[in-house]
Chain length 246, copies 2
């Protein structure tokens, strides 16, 4: 074996050579952020020419970005193929949450069966961090940590397809859940439920884990209902039908 073979092996293995993202992927990332943070509120029209100019790219990669966002349920197309920011009804959100519950329930079962102790510890640690940082953290960071907790569970299930589908449902539910997460009243119930999830996982009790995760999301349906009604009566009137704000 020559010593250059070693070099090649090293280059292949160690660096996670993330091939540079395409313009479409980059655009999707920027747009995703803007949609989630409501720079583009639900219902906003997303004309290709205007957006591509704004992002300094041509329509070809922009269209790729739109398709990526459509996969995540953040963009939808009218019957005449005009793209807009998705504006799911409460019913649709509830339906998506139900699927998310089934996915996380499965993940919980698999974690009980297959996860290493290190992975369990990591999940438990995230929960601990959430409790500690809860009083001081701003709503966005707190919510991101919450999402990371759920993602860690699915990650430990060691099922790439499940992880990807979970990511998609998370994306399309992100906004509604973020709004809901800001309600003080929900914080304490959330804490209790997270604890029961962690307890079930550490005990490797499949049924308890699955049930705790699904109940947690059943609860989310109710919270979102309340939170959204509350917000729509609030002082700031969101633009639900207009065009992209420049």
């Amino acid at each position: 074996m020559s010593d250059t073979t070693n070099i090649k092996a090293l280059l292949d293995s160690d660096t996670t050579l993330a091939r540079r993202p395409s313009l479409g992927e980059e655009a999707a990332e920027k747009l995703r952020e803007m949609i989630l943070l409501e720079k583009f509120p639900p219902g906003t029209a997303l004309p290709e020419t205007e957006l591509s100019k704004a992002l300094g790219i041509s329509r070809t990669p922009l269209r790729e970005a739109m398709r990526l966002l459509e996969i995540d349920g953040l963009v939808e197309h009218s019957d005449t193929r005009r793209a807009r920011v998705a504006a799911p009804s409460l019913e649709e959100l509830a339906q998506n949450l139900m699927v998310l519950g089934a996915l996380e329930g499965l993940a919980g079962e698999q974690v009980c069966l297959n996860a290493t102790q290190a992975q369990l510890d990591l999940i438990a640690n995230l929960n601990k961090r959430m409790i500690e940082e809860a009083p001081s953290a701003d709503p966005l960071s707190a919510f991101r940590l919450d999402m990371e907790f759920h993602r860690a569970i699915v990650l430990a299930a060691a099922n790439p397809s499940l992880l990807e589908t979970h990511r998609q449902y998370n994306a399309r539910l992100w906004r509604a859940r973020f709004i809901s997460s800001k309600r003080r009243a929900h914080q304490e119930t959330k804490r209790v439920m997270h604890q029961s999830i962690v307890d079930a996982l550490l005990a490797r009790d499949q049924n308890a884990a699955s049930n705790a995760l699904r109940r947690h999301l059943d609860n989310a349906v109710r919270n979102i209902d309340v939170a959204m009604k509350e917000q729509s009566q609030g002082p700031i009137d969101n633009n639900f039908t207009g065009r992209a704000v420049k």
Copy 2:
């Protein structure tokens, strides 16, 4: 109200005006068929220029088709972005079946809760037809009927996102399950399991329905394992790495 208003209202409502599909959607449909029926065996390279010429379209809509097929898990891209027919390992198939099981389990629960009696009858009827036609039908029609049965259950769950995600997982599992379905030995177990699914749904017993559906798919993992090993030892040597057959 003028009488022309009536005409407009009628045109809007009654025809399910399926907007004409784009070239990309049409191409995806053709390619999907060819992949599922193994005209393009797993691993086959799918270069854009060659395929677009073969289909008589330009690369732009062809690329859209590839993305559609990637969503369904029928096409995957190498690390250097070259497309090929997906060639899932047995492990990946098992992982996908697990997710499918969770999705159908959820569907079963929802059917018990929400489906109309008419929808339940439709499902029971499909099962009846399967039993009746089983002896005479060719493997492909029999399998299509089987898939229709499962789809009818998810349809009756009245959750569009669930239906779409279920469709995607079905697509990526289609080939393996079709191969498995041809084994005589599996026919009888399948019949029994289908019956227990129908019984649970008719009784609107959520837990029984969910469990029957999930067990059915757990069983599929084992069957696919056996069937694939059997086939790979068979007389016809499939092309697993070559280029598109012309």
